[in-house]
Amino acid sequence: MGHHSLQAKHSFSNSSTVSLPAERLSHLVVPSTLTANYNKSAVSKGEEEEESFHFQQNEQSNQIYSDNATATVAAVTGHLTIPKSTSRQKSLSSSFNLSVIDLYGSPNSQEQDQEQGEEGEGLSDDYEEEEPQQQQDRKPSIAQPQQSEPQINKSEYDRYGFRKQTRSVTQRQYDTWFQNKYQPHAIRRKRKWIQLFSKAGLATPDTEGLKQVRFPVKSEKLKRFVRKGIPAEWRGEAWWWFAKGNDVLQEGLYDELVVRSGNFKGKDLEVIERDLNRTFPDNLHFKSQEQGVEPEMIQSLRRVLVAFALYQPSIGYCQSLNFIVGLLLLFMSEERAFWMLVIITGRLLPGLHEMNLEGVNVSQGVLMLGLKEYVPSMFKKIMNISFDQESLKDDGENGDGYEYLRRIPPVMLTTSSWFMSVFIGSLPVETTLRVWDCLFYEDSVFMLKISLSLFKLIETQITASASSAASEESDIDEMEIFSLIQNYPKTLIDPSTLFDVIFTSRNQFNGLSQDDLVRCRQFVAEKRQTASKKNKNKSKSGGTDDLKVSRRLLANEDLWSDELYGFRSKSGAGSSIVRWNKDLSERVKRRMKR
């Protein structure tokens, strides 16, 4: 029975779309009748058979699926970005044709009445926390007898195929949180998104299959929607849309690169090869299910990474790109993942993966400035453990008080990986995905905001532990700060812990704009540039490359202007560039009002 309806569904949806194997889907979309059918039959066979049944099922549907997909895609190529070579273009993307009913229970008309008031027309910047009261009110309508209850995913793996349990989170913690809090949240959000689309007169992504997906125009309301999370099955489309994938896409180039990479013999090749199996070893899709058979995901990962190394020789391959591409591939086709990588490494995280990693130093310098301004107690702690006062005094040569931008404190190597891997591995999966949602919508300034939020939370942790130990704050040593910065974020399974910080208006850094970030980057790049100019005479190593990248970072933007932004006219060392940026934001806001 279960087999039957599952396959019927598949072939049906395949007639209009390129879709994903049932295996991937069942993890992504737990609360569905699809999984319900599967679960029922699995349960009747007994718990233990669940997995094997599952994979068997998967093979079969996979077969059917790929045949259909090939035919379908052949018919529609031309007006879509999905190329002909379907074997490597499958994605877990939004195009899969699942109705809302399947996903989250019936979208009753009555929902509309109830929901309307809540989101309202309010354009306030404030993050509206989900109110428990309202949740309860709504419960009865969700639990209508004719509706299917969301299914509970009891497996070891989450809906993306990642192992729920990590060093920092137990499976029990995960399940409790997901079932009681996050799943209801996701269901609620999805309904609201559907309403949003319908109000905007747009079709929701998953009912239209291969048609060009459109999202509503950017607005405060949409921003708030994104901040509360994009429905998982639309993420691929949404990321592509918000990051303006179509602007960088060069049709056919990816396929061409894949062909050319057959002859590519760069030394990156070996480095890539060694990292393939070290990319999400805890994720089902990246794990070999059968001895000696390489998972498709790994093959896709290889193709994208090699094609990128070929396309962007100034970066080639840098460890951490494997994770970025790996995560992208869970949500979109290879081709799109490739172009998203181009966007991420070029526009969103400039210089961070270049040969000399100078962009890492710049990003960490910016973060230091942000801390100095917005989380000063953490800034002080980091300074205390990183430099002895003497060495800061003979800052001498430059004497501007910005030595910490030239010699980035060691602790910041931990936060470097936040940026390099875009929080993969530093935050739990669902939380990481929420960060990605916002990153593509709000641009790279969001990386800074999230980092500062994390430091706010860490600051609270330090204060708590200091008072509980009844010891002086100064007792906290480098090791403890280091481990808090490294380990605390890994415990944040519930995204709202983090997002509540960033979306409360109390935190002034919430008002930072992308322009602020760009200027801050330039400032740091310039400070570092003066240093490397001087070093260039001293040592041959590194200096010139650093210089080159710093220059490129500077050249990227023509916004730099002494007159308008007055860095240098400000009275030297004491003045904080970020504070100064706030003034600017105000000015811009005033101008906008006029």
Binding site: N277, L357, A469, D475, S483
Partner: protein
């Protein structure tokens, strides 16, 4: 809070990508092994309290990314480390040849003020071995490494003894180390207490 009085020692793990730095540390910390670990990006930090001969020290283990370009970020870690463990993979000649580079990095930062350990990991891969034990020993001697060992994180072979040897080079235990020179059998039993970093605070 006695912990603040504990002596702390920084031990930095260096070496090419995929030689098993993370797996060595994981074996030591948790006594577990997985055939694959996620690649380390930037740096990972772990700490562990070690009891030996009535004395206690806190070890800070710094696990680093192996890809060449990350070397530009690492010097600041080497700067105040007491011990540098440089790891190669006995089944990869290349990882062995590149040891020199890492040792050079360490010497540039630390001169002679650092204990260098050379470790040939994955010695369970007997069929794939490309570097002999003798070659390893010779290289260790040539570079003046205080400790040389072949290990297998997979089998847990020599991992504990690596850390015992490291401990014995620390000022706290130097005396013990001298009396029991090279005598693994005379080794004082070591108790390693696991202090995960977060609840490390309340370890009084």
């Amino acid at each position: 809070m006695s912990k603040s009085n504990l002596s702390k020692y920084k031990i930095v793990f260096l070496g090419e990508q995929n030689v098993g730095k993370t797996s060595l540390i994981t074996r030591f910390m948790y006594d577990t092994f997985d055939s694959t670990y996620a690649a380390t990006i930037g740096i990972d930090f772990l700490s562990k309290t070690m009891y030996l001969d009535d004395k206690t020290v806190r070890l800070q283990l710094w696990d680093t990314a192996g890809q060449e370009r990350f070397r530009s970020l690492i010097p600041s870690y080497i700067r105040d480390s007491h011990v540098a463990v440089i790891v190669y993979d006995v089944s990869s000649k290349k990882s062995f040849e590149l040891l020199d580079k890492w040792i050079e990095d360490v010497k540039i930062e630390r001169g002679e003020n650092v204990i260098i350990c050379i470790v040939g990991n994955k010695n369970d891969l007997t069929d794939e071995r490309q570097v002999s034990l003798q070659d390893g020993e010779a290289k260790a001697k040539a570079h003046g490494a205080k400790i040389f060992l072949e290990t297998s994180s997979k089998l847990g072979y020599n991992v504990k003894s690596l850390f015992k040897k490291i401990a014995k080079t620390l000022p706290e235990f130097e005396a013990a180390g001298k009396s029991g020179e090279e005598g693994a059998s005379e080794m004082i039993d070591i108790n390693v207490e696991n202090t995960t970093t977060q609840d490390g605070q309340c370890q009084c």
